[in-house]
Amino acid sequence: MSTLLEVSGVSVSFDGFKAINNLSFQIGPAEMRAIIGPNGAGKTTFMDIVTGKTRPDEGRVIWGDKSVSLLKLSESQIARAGVGRKFQRPTVFETQTVRENLSMALKNKRGPFDVLFYKRNADGAARLEAIAEEIGLTDQLPRIAGELSHGQKQWLEIGMLLAQEPKLLLVDEPAAGMTPEEREHTTDILVEAAKTRAVVVVEHDMEFVRRLNCKVTVLHEGSVLAEGSLDHVTSNQDVIDVYLGR
């Protein structure tokens, strides 16, 4: 199996605290993966490293067919290379409309002058409508994003990710604070997305992870504790000790 993202031997410490300790991780081009682990296991730091927000002290992060090192790229270059990230708290642009939010995320040239002379076109409009349909926000397009409910903001953010057409989606606790129906919808969106791209979901909620029905990586103290199907890892004695058995 070819790999899309390969993280190997990565370590990073903050003021002597080792947030990530010799972590290695691989994911293929069309794969769903859930990352679980207790607080402080390094899940968010892992995402920070992949997206370029944090530079690791050592190790390699290799991306794509051409084996580019992500460590040399800036955040915006990594995003343009095809890594999309959804934050834990929904972060959408609250003073702008849903349409403006999606339009900003839509895959297009990103240079200041390209954007300044950007003309709205039928193709872009169709892509935008399709994404709005997929996340169930077609009716909400003209609304100001700040007026949306918590769940709708989460979907809008996922929609913005999809609009970027990334090869890898990093999703941080997508189901936090959602009602059961909203969770179900979120699961559907993610499973659909994983058919054509790699999706990494960080989640606390076991029930949600079970519904994703995918390979699970358990992080603990900054490195991989176990990997495999959910049933496999939940029966692992180490995992039970550090995480589930508390």
Binding site: K53, S74, S76, A79, F87, T95, S103, M104, Y118, Q164
Partner: protein
């Protein structure tokens, strides 16, 4: 389905209509057309006010839309004024010198004329040599290019250094203050080549147009300022209206998020910062021929802070708000400080507005921040929505 630019932005037509009506009214009532309702000096005040409205638009773009609280844009305004001032002063002095040497027994050589110009201009700072930076001062075209190039280049270099190091928020504001302070202190020096604290003067006299009265010239500059303001307004609406506007408002609200969408935030900031610096410089180049004099005090840090106050009172994030704020506050300021407002005798103490105007301005700034954070523009928005 795609509505035209004007249909999407009805405020543009309203604004340009108001500006045109105002320009026409001032022209008809001014001394240039034989009426006596508006004095030439007041036409100049109004023309200068239009230039201040233009720099306020620039400030609104960079602060209100892109979230960069620059407290240094008056430096670019002043530099624009200096660049055009060099040509005005050089050419006018040249005319005077040539006229006075006309009756000499031998016709003056080019070097003699040049030396005489040098003595005339730089005598006040104890020099006679024309400094190298005046190399192009005899060419209107070159100095007009420098109006754009010098401030633009300064903004580009300053912005590149600051944004690349991810200096943001109040730290960036302090840095821009330092820039304008350093520039003004440098210009205060006699050997800066721009006549130290004397600055450049006599700028109201346009070389080659000495046969035209100040009344007519003032109206010409008033028209030029109005046209520049209208173009600036159109440009600002165009820039903020489309996707570019979306991105820079995104940068204002959540810079990191924009970065993770794949936009090069630093590049956008640099474009906005430099572009608005150029707008400010053009406004300055139109302002100072109407003011007649420019000196380093004009680019003291306080000037740029006033600019932020105008935009805050007018309502940032709204282009017409910036225009209203600049016009309202600067006209009110010249009324109060020019002795237009009657003193208030309290018996034991007399409130002289020339002294108390700043207190009033400060209080109204606090009041706007507390009670109408969206400024005057925000109040107008509320009224429009209600009706």
């Amino acid at each position: 389905m795609q509505k035209s630019f004007l249909a999407r932005n009805p405020s543009v037509l309203i604004f340009i209509g108001c500006l045109a009506a105002f320009t026409l009214a001032v022209t008809l009532l001014s001394e240039a057309t034989g009426a006596t309702f508006i004095s030439t000096s007041f036409v100049k005040t109004l023309g200068k006010t239009l230039c201040l409205c233009l720099i306020a638009i620039a400030m609104d773009l960079v602060w209100g839309y892109c979230g960069i609280l620059s407290l240094g844009h008056f430096a670019f305004f002043g530099l624009g004024g200096y660049m055009i001032g060099m040509w005005l002063m050089y050419e006018r002095t040249k005319t005077i010198v040539t006229n006075s040497l006309e009756n000499a027994t031998l016709p003056p050589t080019a070097d003699e004329v040049r030396d005489a110009i040098g003595t005339q201009i730089f005598g006040v700072v104890g020099g006679a040599e024309i400094p190298p930076i005046w190399l192009f001062a005899d060419s209107l075209f070159a100095q007009l290019a420098l109006v754009v190039l010098v401030p633009g280049l300064l903004a580009l270099v300053f912005g590149w250094l600051a944004f690349r190091s991810r200096v943001t928020g109040v730290y960036l504001s302090i840095l821009t203050q330092a820039m304008t302070l350093a520039l003004s202190l440098y210009l205060f020096q006699n050997d800066s080549g721009l006549r130290g604290n004397n600055g450049l003067s006599g700028l109201q006299n346009i070389p080659g147009l000495s046969h035209i009265s100040q009344a007519t010239l003032s109206i010409w500059f008033f028209w030029a300022s109005a046209v520049a303001l209208a173009l600036g307004y159109l440009l600002a609406v165009f820039v903020t209206n489309g996707k570019f506007g979306s991105v820079i408002r995104g940068i204002r609200d959540d810079e990191a998020r924009v970065r993770f969408l794949g936009y090069n935030v630093e590049g956008y900031k640099l474009v906005v910062f430099t572009g608005t610096a150029v707008i400010a410089a053009i406004a300055g180049a139109l302002y100072y021929p109407q003011a007649g004099i420019i000196n380093p005090a004009e680019i003291a840090p306080i000037a740029s802070i006033y600019l932020a106050v105008w935009v805050a009172i007018g309502g940032r994030g709204r282009i017409y708000g910036a225009v209203i704020g600049a016009a309202f506050v600067s006209l009110l300021s010249s009324w109060f400080t020019g002795g237009g407002a009657p003193d208030v005798p309290l018996g034991f103490y007399t409130i002289k507005w020339t002294d108390w105007w700043l207190v009033l301005l400060g209080l109204s700034f606090v009041a706007v921040t507390l009670f109408a954070p969206q400024g005057i523009g925000g109040l107008i928005d509320k009224l429009v929505r209600k009706s």
